[in-house]
């Protein structure tokens, strides 16, 4: 029994999720009339997107250092 995903799989997953969330948060924070009607906590969404982006960067750095 072991976790079936490798570091590169997780890195790819994090990158895709971070891109989706960053684009969503950017579109929502634009002050259009339509986005103003979406009542979610936009600051938290941006925070989650940034956290995923940072997570992806950490996995990249880890993979870089694994080579040495």
């Amino acid at each position: 029994m072991k976790f079936p995903l490798s570091m590169s799989d997780i890195s790819l997953w994090l990158a895709v999720m971070a891109i989706i969330l960053l684009i969503t948060s950017e579109l929502l924070s634009a002050t259009t009339e339509y986005s103003g009607k979406i009542m979610i906590e936009k600051r938290r969404l941006r925070l989650a997107a940034l956290a995923l982006g940072i997570g992806f960067m950490i996995t990249v750095i880890m993979r870089v250092f694994q080579q040495f």
Partner: protein
């Protein structure tokens, strides 16, 4: 039969005594009426004070109710994603399946995200307007009852972190002074420190500003005490706060020209307050947005701020207010 001379003088004396008694009776009656009027005046003032206290309690209750509503999480979708997600992850470890792991990771992530980024509950703007109306009507009554014809003066508080002795603690409260006449002296520090409602010298009343709650909300959103922020920054940040942070108006512009600060609010949620049937005190104190901005300017500059003039467009869309800074702290 004619009365004797002696009897006549006694009669005159009696008449004089009667006159004095009647006079005394009249004076006593007048005095008792005056006393009654005074008593009625005192009871009216105490009734108004009691009413203010009741309204403040109601506002506090409404605030806590609103907070409770905001706290109710929309967890159903989050849990619906989270449970199968965690199950899929566990099974993926047991079966060593990559597909199950991806599905589990995705579901768990979106479930957690739905819990984290939950929708914020909003109330209708009409409700906000009607909730604040009663406070203005009460202030209207007080001003009418006390026959005040003055202006409002927003007195800046001392910063929270400044040490003050116990008897001066009242100076840390933001207050607005409504003067009895148009050109009053400012109340002394001792008078403000006592946190009194009715002030004798100068004649007027001191009340918490109607925009105090909004000001606290502005400071929470900014994460800073406005008494430590310079005026230029405050004027730069406020439009964004009012239109985006806490959407209370469609557009807000603030300009500073020679000690006069000109505010323009487009499509404010409190615009109905300014119509002819609305409370008169809104022109003295300003609506909650105008009042909160006056408080912010007073806090930032450390100077007394007064509303010089206000104007509303005929279609009630645009509210214009001119603030002036009163010299001295």
């Amino acid at each position: 039969m004619f009365p004797s001379l002696y009897g006549k003088s006694i009669l005159i004396e009696h008449i004089e005594t009667l006159k004095v008694i009647v006079c005394l009776f009249c004076v006593e009656k007048y005095m008792s009426r005056e006393k009654k009027e005074k008593k009625a005046e005192i009871s009216a003032t105490s009734y108004l004070l009691e009413r203010i206290r009741e309204l403040q309690l109601q506002v506090e209750n409404l605030k806590s109710e609103l907070e409770n509503i905001e706290r109710v999480p929309s967890v159903k979708i989050g849990i619906a994603f989270l449970i199968p997600g965690v199950a899929a992850l566990i099974f993926s470890v047991v079966k060593e399946s990559q597909i199950l792991a991806f599905i589990g990771l995705g579901l768990t992530f979106w479930g957690a995200l739905f819990l984290f980024v939950r929708p914020v509950r909003y109330v209708k703007s009409k409700l906000l307007h009607s909730a604040s109306l009663s406070s203005y009507l009460t202030i209207d009554r007080i001003i009418k009852d006390l026959k005040f014809k003055g202006k409002s003066y927003y007195i800046p508080p001392y910063p929270e972190d400044v040490y003050l002795p116990e008897h001066l603690k009242g100076l840390k409260e933001m207050v607005v002074f409504i003067s009895a006449n148009k050109h009053p002296d400012m109340p002394s520090i001792e008078e403000i420190a006592k946190s009194r409602f009715l002030l004798k010298n100068p004649n007027g009343i001191c009340i918490p500003p109607p925009g105090l709650g909004l000001l606290i909300q502005f400071e929470r959103t900014l994460g800073r005490d406005l008494s430590k922020v310079d005026l230029e920054t405050v004027l730069e940040v406020l439009p964004q706060l009012v239109t985006e942070g806490i959407p209370l108006a469609k557009q807000l512009e603030i300009e500073k020209e020679d000690g006069i600060i000109h505010l323009r609010i487009l499509n404010s949620i409190y615009k109905k307050m300014y119509n002819l049937e609305g409370p008169k005190s809104v022109h003295i104190l300003g609506c909650p947005i105008v009042s909160a901005i006056a408080c912010a300017i007073a806090k930032s500059t450390g100077k007394v701020v007064t509303i010089k003039e206000d104007k509303i467009s005929p279609d009630e869309q645009l509210i214009e207010v001119w603030y002036s800074l009163v010299a001295g702290d």
